[in-house]
Symmetry: C2
DNA sequence: GGCCAGCCCTGACATAGATCAAGGATGGAA
DNA sequence: TTCCATCCTTGATCTATGTCAGGGCTGGCC
């Protein structure tokens, strides 16, 4: 699949690629290729060695981990996310599996090239560091949510975050199947159902993928959202113009819960 | 507290500082200072803005997070660890609190200087990226452990990891109070007690801070350790000489559970 | 030595969450 | 249209974990 000029321009806008100079960018793109995958494709299984940095241009990708026949979803990525950057930087094997959830267009950049240019373009290396730092902080947030909150509270905060990200609407649309959301939130589908049911007392009405938050204030009193856990608006949106709001990057650290 | 030549040499051996050229290192050290803190000192509270990169030369530091009057320990650091690197790179506020657990000697490096030299010394920038990538992967491991395993299994794997790190001895010494370990493992002290009690069936005998693993094979059958979750030997030790074994760095990603 | 605080263990109980089983809704394929 | 698979929900039950209370042990301190 040929890389269109428009794709390049979109990718170029990624924060960590904006720091790269033109030569660096050219070299990165040189050996890169764009591929379209159907839904349900396993791009990478945990333990695999990693040769490419992946950049999701369109679609949805799920990052998951397994142990002892159990599986959990660690993050759900939307367009303009990078993934497995950490494994690429360390030239080691992946700790998570990556699977497409919708049909997805993915740009693959040679890991070896990435490592090489990082060591020649300091500004770009700094950009990569910032990207990794953002991913790290996203995981810290997830970990705090996981260890400090109960299931209902995690769900309540997820809903509040979605409400803000979808533009302060009364009725939000769940972007994923409920069983997927359950795994992301660290509970069983049955329990997620019951959690939704308990939120009825707080003005939450569920209708398939549509969730109406009737009394946000009441829900917030339960959820107790916290700026040091919940990333209501991705960092690069803050202080930015409205243009960015249209299709902001859903990077790993910003989609995890 | 003056920075001794020996301290500098130790710090210089940190993987991410080994990549720095001499001039970069000099500039980093220039405005740095070394400070000794008693046990129980709060170095940083979550939400604080961060002006320095901290490097723990001696002692123990705990990284924790709170929500709704609950607290959880996210990592326990030993000598030659860096911490809050991610916040420094992004020049933003800390998501975790940092507290000394023992008397600790800590080297503090100007965050502004760090960010500046990263953008001038590409090799150093790459080293920082590697450090951050390692931290990220450590958290991924923790998250998988937290979401996929039950409390007893987390404890069993913790013990197996400690046994290997302490040199395959039969009796290991718990490096922290049990209530601290409980919080790190994501359970209450009462539950940790009971978890230890259940492990008696698997040959585990507890005597204060001493834990004897009588039948490692049996314990392993329960624990099912996994290279993609448990970091039995820190990455930089692998393939390295014995010299490194003496006092390996206990970096954030390697001490979390 | 005696006292006290902190840590740890244990038991009884409460709650959260997982599991099992069944049935309803939905939407695509034959 | 009918059939079937998938997803979701709900109820019953079981298990894991948290909470509360009590008591033992230890080590510092008067």
């Amino acid at each position: 699949m040929p890389i269109k000029e428009a794709d390049l321009e979109r990718v170029r806008q990624l924060p960590f690629l904006k720091t790269a100079n033109d030569d660096t960018f050219r070299r990165l793109i040189q050996g890169a290729f764009l591929q379209r995958f159907p839904a349900g494709t396993t791009l990478l299984t945990e333990g695999d060695s990693v040769d490419f940095l992946y950049i999701l241009l369109d679609g949805t990708v799920e990052l998951s981990g397994t142990w002892n026949d159990k599986e959990t979803i660690l993050a759900l990525l939307g367009p303009l996310s990078t993934f497995i950057l950490a494994a690429v930087v360390l030239d080691t094997s992946a700790l998570m599996s990556a699977t497409t959830r919708d049909r997805s267009d993915i740009l693959m950049i040679s890991g070896e090239t990435l490592r090489r240019v990082m060591q020649e373009d300091a500004a770009f290396g700094f950009g990569v560091s910032q990207e990794l730092a953002g991913c790290y902080r996203g995981l810290v947030r997830s970990m705090k949510s996981q260890k400090l909150r109960g299931g209902i509270e995690r769900l309540a905060n997820y809903l509040i975050t979605q409400r803000i990200r979808q533009g302060d609407v009364e009725t939000i649309t769940l972007p994923h199947e409920k069983r997927v959301l359950a795994s992301l939130l660290g509970m069983t589908p049955e329990n997620l159902s019951r959690a939704f049911a308990s939120l009825a007392d707080y003005g939450v009405v569920v209708n398939g993928p549509l969730v109406t938050i009737g009394r946000p204030v009441v829900l917030k009193r339960l959820a107790k959202p916290d700026a040091l856990i919940d990333n209501h608006t991705p960092e690069e949106m803050r202080g930015g113009g409205k243009a960015r709001l249209e299709a902001w990057p859903n990077q790993p650290e910003r989609m995890t819960v």
